[in-house]
């Protein structure tokens, strides 16, 4: 099947056209030395040189979101429900590892109790993903968790920069197919399936050095108490950068804030690396040391979540590897686990 192509230079106009349909626009732009997905950025500033430092998480699961409002009147309280601020959104040129994080976390937000705040935003969000021709950063390891630089999980439309000037378009979801009309306005030519296959192959090859991590879960389940945790995690300063930059980390806190006659309840990002996360009022803390908290993060991603939801809670985006201030690389830790499993240790 042939795929429509457009000029790379038309990407900003395409972004504009997609946003023009009443959607808020999110796209990667440069700030200093790094890229960030930003809402409301100028499409002309679109920068695709590497993977952004933040993930797209904040546009579906904001760092601070109101979940309840209330007013006091005498002894009584009046509760007002809050609708999520779920505007139609297009995330333009998300990376595949970011887009793929959505199907990973969806079961969490929907097992038994359905979180409308995530779901309604998800419903309203259109993901136009920019496939990576080759792994954009040394930290990338999507291939290790069953994805690839051109993975289309979670995406509505895939864009492939098949050469420096040409971008191929492939709708993935029904939502993406409905956009055919917008895309076709920019149509310049066609490429064949083979071109996309070659593209994907190039991406896969760029990550050929990454190990599969298929034995990590089994190893973890048998090594809860292992010197590895102290040995690796002594250096962890508990800054939580890994959890906050991670597209799949979803833990949150609930906080009340009020003034004189009312207030609201907020859902804020939280992370397993902080002692307060699990501290009981009694003073007891099940995870009272940093290595235990670090271990929890690895377990949650590579053992607990797969056991519960059948998916690794990691898309291999490498942010926690690249931005850890003390270079405590998650990949190294899980690759060590894999190696030891392979050796039968």
């Amino acid at each position: 099947m042939p795929h429509m192509t457009l000029d790379r230079t038309d990407l900003p106009s395409l972004a504009q056209a997609l946003a023009g349909q009443g959607r808020r626009l999110v796209l990667p732009v440069r700030e200093g030395q790094e890229l960030f997905y930003r809402e409301g950025a100028d499409p002309a500033q679109l920068d695709l040189s590497t993977i952004p430092k933040n993930s797209i998480k904040e546009f579906l699961f904001p760092k601070c979101e109101k979940i309840l409002e209330y007013e006091y009147s005498g002894n009584d309280v009046v509760i007002e429900d809050v609708a999520p601020d779920a505007k139609p959104t297009v995330i333009f040129c998300a990376r595949p590892c970011d887009a793929a994080s959505l199907p990973v976390v969806e079961p969490l937000w929907n097992w038994d109790y359905k979180d409308k705040f995530f779901n309604e935003r998800r419903e309203q969000t259109l993901l136009v993903t920019y496939a990576c021709r080759t792994a954009p950063d040394e930290a990338c390891f999507c291939a290790s968790v069953g994805l690839s630089p051109s993975a289309d999980q979670g995406s509505d439309v895939m864009l492939y920069a098949v050469d420096d000037a040409t971008v191929a378009v492939r709708p993935v979801s029904p939502k993406g197919k409905e956009l055919e009309e917008v895309f076709s306005k920019f149509k310049k030519g066609e490429v064949s399936d083979e071109a996309l296959e070659a593209f994907a192959k190039e991406g896969d090859e760029s990550l050929a050095h990454r190990k599969p991590l298929d034995k990590v879960k089994g190893w973890l389940e048998a090594h809860f108490e292992d010197p590895l945790w102290e040995e690796k995690a002594f250096r962890c300063i508990g800054c939580g950068t890994c959890t906050f930059l991670c597209p799949t980390c979803h833990c949150f806190d609930i906080q009340d804030e009020s003034v004189f006659d009312g207030g609201c309840r907020l859902k804020n990002w939280d992370g397993c690396q902080f002692p307060l996360f699990t501290l009981h009022t009694s003073g007891h803390n099940p995870r009272d040391t940093q290595p235990k908290r670090y271990r929890q993060r690895i377990y949650h991603k590579y053992a607990i979540y797969p056991e519960k939801f059948g998916k690794i809670l990691c898309t291999g985006c490498g942010r926690c590897v690249a931005h850890c201030p003390v270079n405590l690389s998650l990949y190294d830790v899980v690759a060590t686990a894999q190696e030891r499993a392979e050796k039968g240790e």
Binding site: I67, L68, Y70, Y72, N75, D76, V77, I79, D81, V82, L108, W109, W111, D112, Y113, K114, D115, K116, N119, E120, F224, E225, H250, C251, F252, D253, I254, Q255, D256, E257, S258, G263, R265, K267, D270, C272, F277, T278, L279, H280, T281, S282, H284, P286, R287, K292, Q296, Y299, H300, A303, I304, E307, K308
Partner: protein
């Protein structure tokens, strides 16, 4: 879509000061329909909110056999519980729930039951106790071993009296050495020892156990010695929770989300868990 974080409003109908730092409430839903139809099971917990302060997690202390209200009992320890304790009869607070799993009461029918509780851990057990007592005919011997650091630390004292007076319950109360007052009629000693002496019938027996970690640690061997199998020893796990819905990510022990698959577990299940609680 429904807002899963939205609590029901409940009014404080009764407030009782159980100890110097522990308070119990009887709560009624403002909504008529909820008051009529709210259903739960022994072992379920809820999120109690004081608006402007936050939410806190503790069990429903009343028995599901009692209709029209729920009860809770808590120690004023943190920001939320302190402001909750400051609430008075007539005040409105929030409640989300019921959450979590339950004690499988039906499976206990026809068996001997021993309840073992320490200090502030009586409330979760109390839910089961009243559930059992309200269906007394379905059970064989019922023994309650309840202990606290001192007389002043015993909660639900008025009910202890009631249980004591009942002919169909064997209540053993104890306080730690030095915690007894001049009029103390109960035992003096730690719960595990007192339990050993009371020697409830383990044959066809179920134990429901709740207390501080140190008490659990020393009580489990005693139960085993008495002949209780780990599969027949039931307890509740307390972990810090925020959402109660299996989302916020803090209560898990290994792959078990305590807020959904717990808080009720058998000692056999607990023994299988990683040491992360």
């Amino acid at each position: 879509m429904e807002n899963i974080y939205k609590p029901y409003l409940v009014r404080i109908e009764e407030k009782r000061t159980e100890t110097y730092d522990t308070t119990s409430f009887k709560l009624a839903f403002l909504d008529d329909d909820m008051r009529e139809n709210f259903a739960y099971h022994a072992g379920n917990f809820g999120e109690y909110s004081v608006f402007g302060e936050g939410e806190s997690t503790f069990c429903i202390a009343s028995s599901p056999t009692k209709k029209g209200y729920i009860e809770c009992c808590f120690r004023a320890a943190g920001r939320l519980t302190k402001s909750l304790a400051a609430k008075e009869v007539g005040d409105v607070i929030g409640f989300r729930g019921p959450y979590g799993n339950r004690f499988p009461i039906e499976d206990y029918y026809g068996k001997n039951i021993v309840f073992v509780a320490g200090g502030i851990a009586l409330p979760p057990v109390r839910s089961v106790i009243w559930n059992v007592l309200d269906l007394r005919d379905k059970f064989e011997e019922v023994t309650i071993v309840y202990g606290a650091r001192s007389e002043a630390d015993l909660v639900y004292k008025h009910e202890l009296k009631e249980w004591e007076e009942r002919g169909d319950v064997n209540l053993v109360q104890t306080v730690d050495p030095g915690g007894e007052g001049p009029d103390w009629k109960g035992q003096v000693g730690f719960v595990p020892n007192v339990l050993g002496e009371a020697a409830p019938n383990a044959e066809n027996g179920i134990a429901v156990l709740c207390g501080p970690p140190v008490m659990i640690r020393f009580t489990l061997p005693v139960l085993r010695e008495l002949g209780f199998r780990d599969e027949d020893v039931w307890t509740t796990l307390e972990n810090r929770m925020k959402c109660g819905l299996g989302k916020c990510g803090r209560c898990n022990v290994g792959e078990i989300y305590v807020c959904k698959e717990g808080p009720v577990f058998t000692a056999a299940q607990v023994a299988q868990m990683p040491n992360d609680f």
